[in-house]
């Protein structure tokens, strides 16, 4: 037996075991007892969709989430990568006044190049012989996560900043996000931006927004080369929603606010009120003028309130899980639920609500096996209480990277369907700014529900049970799960 095997089999597990025992002692000694799951009281739970749409429940959401219900929107689900890239290119390519883009990062690869080219074309009008522009330059403003951008791309060549520097040289205002109100270096390091939105003016709709889980790059907008008919067609599975209507103005307002907070050298010329910059708030039109979907723009902003943070999405999830009367369907790439939400899932199960969770397998998790082990820690108890857990484990085939399920969606009772950037994990709950867009409309909720049901039938998705858990994990993997779960608020 060589040294590596000796370490692998004996020494490392022993060290880990000792670390676990010590750290668990520390955790137990320094934290209050975990809250017990509330008893199965079903009186608050919804019996029909009208319970979610009622003014009583909506008023509760107003105060709990700091958001408002916005009526009169049109929402279209955008789930497939090729359609999504075409839509983005069309939206940006037809803009005449402004493009506002909020993203974690722009990967230095093909899909990004195509989109950057469109943005640069819009920001740089053709000129006549005297050098006068033949049309107005489109204002293109971008917020990205600086550290994620630096670290994107190849580890060896480290060309993460290439797309940003190119855009800045071509007249695009790109600002990197850094936490501003941190109280210690640790908070500075872990607080990050994770919001994703694309807002453009439009000759047809006045203004429109595409929001959800996608950043910019081949992972998000790439299709599987040589996919067969029964393959999932995209490299990753992700979900965005296209919004027309008044809600776009609320998203615009937030973008301008965040951009101006982060920017050192240029502010979008807009004061505290929309009336001071009406050019960014044209009338918001719809393809179907009678469409009347109610939605909310909900945020987590850990850096707000002088660093105390604002966590509207956490409250929204808490309320929706409490209210669920029939079903809760969750898609999340990293399932690391924080205690309050985990307790609500337990309570829902105890009340007889069907809970289905779709998350990544070990091999499909783009952040690697540690994140999967952290998720798996929660599976035993959820399965025991009756949850259905499905793993996204589609074959890699021609993809050079893990085939990750990257959607962040929640469907409740087929009455509410929401998508956004909010992963059900510790980072989203505690440290990153996030968007979530719950739509309170039966017709749209059914579209989202159909997507979820369809995703469970994708080749490579399978349901796990207690036996699978017993068969799949060795003792040291169990130890890893426990240890990682101790750090769940950071993962």
């Amino acid at each position: 037996m060589n040294i590596r095997n000796s370490i692998k089999r004996f020494i490392t597990p022993t060290v880990i075991a000792l670390a676990v025992v010590g750290t668990q002692g520390l955790a137990y000694g320094s934290s209050p007892d975990p809250e017990k799951a509330p008893p199965a009281d079903t009186s608050y739970r919804a019996e029909s969709c009208s319970d979610f749409y009622s003014s009583e429940f909506q008023n509760e959401l107003d105060s709990a989430t700091g958001s408002v219900k916005i009526d009169g929107n049109e929402v279209v689900l955008s789930q497939y990568a090729a359609d999504n890239l075409a839509l983005r290119q069309q939206m940006m390519g037809d803009s005449q006044e402004f493009v506002f883009l909020y993203t974690l990062m722009l990967e230095p690869n093909d899909a990004t190049i195509e989109q950057i080219a469109t943005l640069i074309e819009r920001a740089n009008p053709p000129v006549d012989a005297r050098g006068n522009p033949l049309r107005s330059a489109v204002e293109v403003d971008l917020v990205y996560n600086e550290i994620a951008q630096v670290l994107s791309g190849s580890i060896l060549s480290g060309e993460g900043m290439a797309p940003i520097t190119l855009m800045r040289n071509a007249g695009i205002k790109a600002v990197g996000y850094w936490a501003r109100n941190y109280s210690n270096p640790f908070e500075f390091f872990v607080s990050g931006s994770h919001k994703k939105s694309l807002i453009v003016d439009s000759s047809e709709f006045g203004v429109e927004a595409l929001v959800g889980g996608r950043n910019i790059g081949d992972a998000y907008q790439g299709v599987l080369e040589g996919a067969q008919a029964d393959d999932y067609p995209d490299i990753w599975k992700d979900t965005d929603v296209l919004i027309h209507g008044e809600a776009v103005h609320v998203i615009t307002e937030d973008f301008i606010k965040r951009f101006n907070i982060q920017s050192d050298d240029y502010d979008i010329p807009c004061g505290q009120t929309r009336s001071s910059c009406l050019q960014y708030y044209p009338a918001a039109l719809k393809a179907n003028s009678s469409s009347n979907m109610a939605l909310r723009v909900v945020e987590n902003e850990p850096d707000d309130n002088n660093g105390e943070g604002f966590f509207g999405i956490n409250a929204m999830f808490d309320k929706l899980l409490k209210k669920a009367g029939k079903s809760i369907d969750i898609q999340t790439p990293y399932f690391i639920p924080q205690e309050p939400l985990l307790n609500e899932l337990y309570a829902a199960l105890d009340a007889g609500v069907q809970v289905r969770i779709l998350t990544n397998s070990k091999d499909a998790n783009d952040l690697g096996s540690p994140l999967f082990y952290a998720s798996a820690y929660y599976f035993d108890e959820l399965l025991e209480r009756g949850a259905e857990i499905y793993l996204w484990d589609v074959a890699k085939k021609s993809s050079p990277i893990a085939r990750t399920m990257h959607s962040k969606t929640l469907a409740v009772d087929s009455c509410v369907f929401g998508a956004g950037s909010f992963n059900l994990d510790g980072r989203a709950y505690n440290w990153e700014n996030e968007y979530f867009f719950p739509v309170f409309n039966e017709e749209f909720a059914q579209v989202g529900q159909n997507m979820f049901d369809g995703d469970l039938a994708v080749k490579g998705v399978y349901e796990i049970n207690q036996q699978w858990m017993n068969d799949s994990f060795s003792w040291y993997e169990r130890l890893l799960m426990q240890t990682l779960a101790l750090g769940s608020s950071l993962l």
Binding site: V76, L77, L151, G158, T165, N184, A364, N365, P400, S489
Partner: protein
């Protein structure tokens, strides 16, 4: 105490992550060059006129067609690939990233000296810790910065030539700019 617990948890997690990768036989990252060769994006070319109605119709159609494909188990085929947030960066890799970012910022004509220094300090804090000194520039770094400045100067020159061709059709203009962007990204190491 809360901060203390977090620090302990972080230390433990990094230890566990290292352990997990040590015991894994599949922890080797993919070669990025071959990855790029094998991987095409959705390939919507800029010179195509994009039809909004067609796109929305296709999206709505696909939403209504979440057909029930038969469920089957497939062989697991992929090892761990960490691609976000530098969870697996060694000091050497972090240094490479830092130097690369500094070179790009030095070649960014829109950044003032002050703006560059602010970014460098923040990045150094994030990558190397609060008290870390900014790594010194090497001759290679300075040469690379000069090279990048030249690449961007060439980019701006070529873009101005495209812009000066006022009679160019929009589709051609988009194609030319995409070609230029691709060439520039390749020249800057992407």
């Amino acid at each position: 105490m809360q901060v203390y617990r977090m620090v302990v948890a972080i230390a433990l997690i990094f230890g566990v992550i290292a352990f997990a990768h040590f015991v894994s036989d599949e922890a080797t990252p993919i070669d990025s060059a071959s990855a790029r060769e094998a991987w095409k994006s959705a390939q919507v070319k800029a010179d195509k006129k994009i039809d909004r109605k067609k796109i929305l119709a296709a999206i709505k159609k696909s939403n209504s067609q979440n057909d029930n494909e038969s469920e089957s188990l497939t062989t697991r085929s992929q090892g761990e690939i960490l691609r976000e947030a530098g969870r697996e960066l060694t000091l050497e890799e972090a240094l490479k990233r830092f130097r690369s970012a500094r070179n790009f910022w030095a070649a960014d004509a829109t950044l003032t000296y002050q703006a560059r220094m602010t970014r460098l300090n923040k990045l150094a804090n994030a990558l190397f810790g609060d008290d870390a000194e900014i790594p010194e520039e090497t001759d290679d770094d300075i040469a690379e910065q000069e090279r990048l400045r030249e690449v961007y100067a060439n980019f701006n020159h070529d873009l101005s030539i495209i812009n000066a061709n006022a009679g160019m059709r929009l589709e051609d203009r988009r194609s030319r700019i995409e070609e230029l962007v691709r060439k520039t990204m390749e020249a800057t190491g992407s």
